[in-house]
Symmetry: C2
Subunit: 266 residues, 2 copies
């Protein structure tokens, strides 16, 4: 039995790069064995929560896509940045200018967006145009005290047609231009992991995160007191294993292997 | 007589925001009194050099535009980042992947660009598309040791149709995504100011920089031992006067006023 799997009661799963490889067209390809692995976790009695920085679609649409790919997943099992951001915006009376993917806009439908007093940036993909970035910049620089809320700080991700810059890169561009620091919602922010743990009802010491991102998934979860395993799928690169700051509790070839090991200890 | 103007023998002039306000369409509007001010500097016997981070056009094209706006300026009076970058690339045997404005590409005509081993980023304006940024990122992340050369580190600039993100913002995006630090050619890099001073044949103690950018122009020149004056034109904003790091030797309303004061001391 691997030490890292001892006394785990709850599993947090990253989605993109762990369950499937997303395609630039909104589709994607399941990673071999992952759909079965999710079913095995559920059958084992372990608590399970999906914890994603996905911001290219509403949770509803995103979950529907995963169901179509054969995954046993429902909307209320998913912790995602946009609903978390909406709560923060409401609490603080913020009116967002949105620089997000078109398909994410419905998540913000309830909020007043007239005369914006903050900018919310997500993985806008094709909406990261020169014009849209200049517009978001002008909204920010026009504020006495610019408020920038970022739905994640990922550097890049892999789609079937190649690596793409993620929201973190564009967040850095706006941070630098306006000399502000963004407030990050989503992984690796601590409150985000904590809300996922709370939804499972499992303390961090008894939970494990399984992800493909050495910083957002592994580093973020460890900062919360959880164990974290990196899969060698998705955006994993061999040089991640020499990361100067973050050291996973273990590497596994894929989710199926992680689940094999986890279930041995039950 | 103002203390800051004492014993000045050489003047470095920023161009955009000091001589004229550029338009998004490639045109621009002269700042009142600036064309006359350039003529007065030249007639006074002071040494003069234009020192710009302009990378939206070749020096030839850019100078022609300024001549059309009424300025007495020639190509061999201008220190600009692209020719400086070309020298560096040749010295180090680097083959660039270019993320620059279409009109700047001829500056790199002599260089081998097959199988690139570095990325050169300039103010690419409309060429800052999602696809082009992803492509530059993929070239960088595919290198064992990514080399990113940036033609400036400006945050933003003002065109007649509003503020625009400058090359520095996009440089930061790529730096973050690839976990590298760009090598900056252009203001505020010390070698860039030094080459402008060498072209005038004036030591830094006897030279003054006049610019609208508190960091790139004023801060950069002062780091080289020059004095520096900020004009209240171009991208100048009142909050610049409370900048936490940089304090100009003086503020002037515009170039014409700076030249009035400079010429009094001759």
């Amino acid at each position: 039995m691997a030490g890292w799997s001892r006394a785990v009661r709850g599993v947090l799963l990253d989605i993109s790069g762990v369950l499937y490889d997303s395609g630039g067209d909104g589709g994607g390809t399941p990673i071999a064995g992952s759909a079965e692995a999710v079913r095995r976790i559920k059958a084992s009695g372990l608590k399970l929560r999906f914890c994603t920085n996905e911001t290219q679609a509403t949770r509803e649409k995103f979950v529907k896509k995963l169901q179509g790919l054969g995954f046993d997943i429902s909307v209320d099992e998913v912790t995602a940045p946009a609903p978390a951001a909406c709560r923060i915006l409401k609490e603080r009376g913020l009116r967002p200018h949105l620089l997000v993917h078109n398909d994410l806009i419905p998540e913000f439908a309830e909020l007043d967006k007239a005369n914006p007093n903050c900018v919310v940036i997500g993985d806008a993909a094709e909406n990261f145009t020169y014009a849209n970035l200049n517009e978001a910049f002008r909204v920010l620089i026009g504020m006495e005290k610019p408020v920038l809320i970022s739905l994640g700080r990922g550097r890049y991700y892999k789609e079937t047609d190649g690596l793409k810059l993620d929201v973190g890169a564009y967040m850095k561009a706006l941070e630098y231009a306006c000399d502000v620091e963004a407030e990050v919602v989503g992984k690796p922010a601590k409150p985000f992991f904590e809300s996922a743990l709370a939804a499972m009802g499992v303390p961090p010491q008894q939970a494990i995160m399984i992800g493909d991102d050495i910083v957002s998934d592994v580093g973020g979860a460890q900062q919360c007191g959880m164990r974290a395993v990196q899969v060698r799928t998705g955006k994993y690169r061999p040089c991640d294993e020499n990361h100067p700051q973050v050291k996973p509790d273990a590497y596994v070839n894929n989710l199926a292997e992680a689940v094999d090991i986890l279930l041995q200890q039950l």
